[in-house]
Amino acid sequence: MNLKEKDKSVSILVVDDEFSVRDSLTKWFKSDGYLAESAADANEALKKLQEKHWDIAFLDIKMPGIDGMELQQRIKGIDPNIVIIILTGYASIDTAVKSLKEGAYDYVTKPVDPDYLSHLIEKVVQQRLVLSENIQLKETIQELYITDQIIGESPGILKVFELMKAVAPADTSVFIRGESGTGKELLARTIHAKSSRRFFPFINLNCGGLSEDLLESELFGHEKGAMAGALYRRKGKLEMADGGTLFLNEVANLSPKAQTVLNTAIETKQFNRVGGQEVIKVDFRLISATSQNLDLLVKEGVFREDLYYQLNVFTISIPSLRERGKDLILLANYFLNNLVKAMNKPIEGFSPEALTFLEKYDWPGNVRELKNAIERAVVVSQGPFITISDLPIPAVSKTSIKALSLEAVEKNHLLQVLEQMGWDLDKSAEVLKIDRAILESKIEKYGLRK
């Protein structure tokens, strides 16, 4: 679509007490394809401005009653985005200059050179086009950031929404608590997308799956030759998050050394790359999350207390799916609709039995587990309804809790603890109060996997 084709939607209001002026200008704009109307005085203009949106307003300075200058101020109060062009005679150029200082886009002296007027309008339209494209692009970027939505109506999740709304625009560090699969990363992304840093990067680092050295290198970057295999200088996640948000997931897994350096980096907003001397200054917002009991880890001396307080400025606890009541059905239907659309399957909904199964199950893997279960069901279902047999076996087996064997209970409990501890076998064994070797044999026995 070229510029001229988009022009057609531009609306112009001409305000002048002289009929011939407003009539000829309105006709001129109409023949150019713009939506043009006129008003004989400020009152009529203000009425038209309340009725609909205008892109450009031509205002005569000298009018009986409210003059052009005052009207300009009132218009800016109604819609600050309207482009105002002042119409003036030679005698009132001083006033026109004053109007420019008040925010008018330009002024034209009557009579106007048609060539000048034509180019002026073209320039305004082009500028508005660029502006609206800019807004559209920003919205698109925002949509790209929020690829999924947080859905729910339960009191617990409504509280999360409320806290998120309050903290997002502030630059405060946010600490997110919640079991595995509750949507901590999604919440972090949403906070970032609703903050003033949204047009800068959102950098995600999962501290759970990396060795101590690798984690440090990931966080702070490294200089060439800082370690074996460091053939090039590499920026760390902190540096990459400059201007934006750094999300540290499973922050409880940070090594003591990384905790110390990170603590200093958060405090001073500067750090050195691994093996480097150069001080790197960064400006980032920190959002961290864990599914572990960080208070306990602080008490046990595993996690630095000072870092804990740096991270834990504003806490949001996401409830588990078990605690979210009817959100489960809401979420199940949301995922189902999205997946059915994406896979183009003739599925209308869940059978009543399948819904009962979904409601009865504990969902230890929370929303993530629910989403995966429904995705699997949509893949295998022949439609028109998702039945119990379409749902993944672990979900179904959990539905008849009363009939579970002791072994099944043990298996489920082991899986739950392992997931909560991020599959850290030492910590899991400690929580279960069994020897690590016994835990390993049970994992093997039940065929448990990450």
Binding site: K4, G33, P114, D115, S118
Partner: protein
Amino acid sequence: MRIYVLPLNFPDKNLFNTLCNTLEDTFKISVVILNHPLPLEKVKDPIRNQYNSTWILSQLLKEVTEESCKILGVTNLDLFVPVLTYVFGEAQLEGKAAVVSSFRLRDELYGLPKSPEKLKERLEKEAIHELGHTFSLIHCPNPRCVMYTSTYAEEIDFKSKDFCNSCSAILEKKKEESLQKENLA
């Protein structure tokens, strides 16, 4: 359905007749030449030394009574509308009347040698353009289309005398509607 053409202080008979033939060829509508002088001195602005084109349009409207007809005034006087310094012509959008002036289409006005051929081409294009407005056509983004807006004389030279496909389609549709109305009447 007709196009009435009225000379208003336009002494160049050859140019006027050529223009009328071109209009007939372009619009495929019979052109009827009128000869009814209008009191143009009444609309002269003594300070600007120009003639009010909007007033001329209102006078032209009195010359035709048939619903489906158009009327074009052709003049060599300098035209203006109150808010603009000058106009090459003016027309009623989706109306009946249009006026075109050769005054600012002459190269000699800009210190260039006289060029009757350019004047003829420009006048034809502007006359077709203004009559195009009476058939509901607005300014076209296609720079070769005769409905492309021109605010200085040389700009007229870049466009052709023809309507682009989309303007041509609108013109034919409007002509058809006018003919239907005429038949019903």
